[in-house]
Amino acid sequence: MQAVMEAIIYVAEEPVKAEQFQEVFPEESPEAIRRALAELLESFNARPGGMWIREVAGGYRMTTRPEHHEQIRAYLKTRPGAKLSMAALETLAVIAYKQPVTLAEILAIRGKKSSSSLQTLLERKLVCILGRKEVVGRPILYGTSREFLIHFGLNSLADLPTLEEFAQMAGDQL
């Protein structure tokens, strides 16, 4: 029973109350459930692991241990697999298909401010500066980087799928 309780506390979004375990184990007495929970806490928290289970807001909740915060933060900062937000992905798509392109042009296409998305993309090195546009204000021109091609497994920009190809796919189904 403890193993299942541990798994449930792990998957739960909110602290899990003892009564909720009662629903999962209807045949067990409330007393038995309380005892099992106490034993789980004792054994889980005694092991030298990365998580612990605490009683929070009248329920049980799994969190990392505070002493590892620094390393966890270090991991979160460096993880390369972090997903781009939809806003960033859209900005990236505009840059990929319309390059070289200025921030104002991206704004015009997306219909919303894109500077923070652009910042993220520059930090991730998916986008780079190509030069300046020779118009009033000489705005910076952006384009996709070599990293972008690697990231999306493309040989060259000519490998990007076209809108027509997607339309073709939709047409095929009819």
């Binding site: 339309a167 939709a170 009819l174």
Partner: protein
Amino acid sequence: MQSGEDLNQDFRPETEAGGLTIRLDVFQGPLDLLLHLIKREEVDIWNIPIARITEQYLEYLEIMKELNINVAAEWLVMASTLIFIKSRMLLPREPAPENAEETEDDPRTELVYQLLEHQKFKNAAEMLFTREEVENAVWNRPPDEVLEDGGDVIAVTLFDLLRAFQEVVRRFESQRVMEVAQEEVTIEQKIEDIRKCFLVHDQLQFSSFFTAASSKRYIIVTFLALLELVRLREIWLFQQQVFEEIQVSRIKESA
């Protein structure tokens, strides 16, 4: 899961709203039907009684037509392949030169390899199905506070767009009573229509462009017109939330 045994239930045509759209639940394509027939007849794959199998295949095609199932081109291609093989089998065979492989000249050989190849990937698909079952039994739930917040407006990818389009077509298909002959609209005319809409409105629901649709052609033309306007940067599409109705908005001219 359609394992070999389930296939023995034969046809399970499903009638949808209005009795017009019928889907084939069991057979996915002509190769699947042939595999089914061969298994049911318990015949040797290397010695398919082509006349009998062809006859049965054509019977199924007849049933499909009677049920108003839209028979895709690949079904007809396979039918003609079978008939061709059958006719080749009827021709008197030239005496095989000595030492020659017996199957070398067999007109069925290519089809057999195609069937074996297809069965191979059906088996691979079953393996994936089993693995998916196992993976569906586990959860990975990282704590909430670690998750990146998704931002305010979630943009529509082309796949979201295509899905919305598919949805419109499906709705249209299930509602249609009869395809009324309609004046043919061109994409250029449709683009002008949409432009006129946006003279009055700033924003419209994606689906509203299709409510008046009375033919599949009209839907396709409208969809392509919308895509063209997106390309021309006159309109853009967005959602407030994932799965919410897609909105079409005019891009305001910058001063």
